[in-house]
Symmetry: C2
Subunit: 230 residues, 2 copies
Amino acid sequence: MLGPLLLIAYEAVSRRRDAEPAAPYDDIDARDIPVIIAGFGRFGQIVARVLRVKGLTFTALDSSQTHVDFVRRFGNQVYYGDASRLDLLRAAGAQTARVLVLAIDDVDASVRTATVVREQFPQLRIFARARSRQHAFALMDVGVTEIIRETYASSLELAGTVLEALGETPASAREAVRRFRQHDQETLQAQYRVKEDEEKFLATTREAAQQLERLFEADEARSEATQRHG
Amino acid sequence: MLGPLLLIAYEAVSRRRDAEPAAPYDDIDARDIPVIIAGFGRFGQIVARVLRVKGLTFTALDSSQTHVDFVRRFGNQVYYGDASRLDLLRAAGAQTARVLVLAIDDVDASVRTATVVREQFPQLRIFARARSRQHAFALMDVGVTEIIRETYASSLELAGTVLEALGETPASAREAVRRFRQHDQETLQAQYRVKEDEEKFLATTREAAQQLERLFEADEARSEATQRHG
């Protein structure tokens, strides 16, 4: 059954300039769908595919006509539009879903969506992708706690492989990456606490380099500890 | 000691329109440096920091003036310029380095660099970042085998966390992600074998969606296996 709000969203989506001829929505009840994936690019798609393999359904929201209507055949829903719009979120079942995967790559759109969701659907747990440390800070500002930087895990994984190529054992490489990650997470939290200054600092490329320099300096203690004990 | 080729590269870099006043290079011998990191953005920087913590030095190559000269203070080198340029690669010690971390985000520049390195410095092991499956295929075409898609590991990690939020045990979530990854890797290899057709298919957004649809279909068997046994 489609409720009135879903119909409003549906009409709004249909009015989009580049909208396709309206296809009837499947008769999936949004209340049965536990996960909303906002942002259906490369990042959101991988999450969607893992859920799919586990037999879990999702509602995809994407700002552009990405032609992924076919996901409906697999028991999912998809809407095209701005994920920060309250009517679209309601249509997507934000009142009853349990998890929002915030995989939007545009920083402003991501933070705007997180803000609306935190205010209007506080029961919805947000798991967010961040482009950068600054994006992560902006999400933390609106109360998001589960955040992963988009290239972070891949770069750490590659670093571990490089350590092995240079002669470390797999266990030792893994341990080095684990420790680095813990240390970097602590550094991120510490930076967040002095973020006001950071924002001033980061106005230019040069200042972004200064941030990296401070990270290298923060790594210094870790480095010495590793050399000594590791 | 600076060799003549290094001086050529140095002068070429100095001629850059937006070049800074030339700073003297440190007297680090490139032959002592085991790793070259091409592309010193967010991805390359994380790899650099992990190496640093393990006491390993690197030479950073970046196409733009990123003001990271400070890394020299930590025993590293940095050059600004096109990493596919033979003179710059030689200056960076590509003859004697053991590992190239190819962390350039621009697809063309990345593939161009991989091509030159494979031809000219076959002893240098390449560990590459790819933006997408297509970028990965292009790197495979020129003989690169160690490739990680840039948002891949983070999206899988987030997917695992979401599975836990929906009630899976940590071990079960981890296993689901591990299996998905193995299956996706096999799918990538299979796609690579029929890539000629893929390239035709992927000319438009709609066709990229068709690729995703085929991935969903390929996931189907995996999904059924999981539902039955998992």
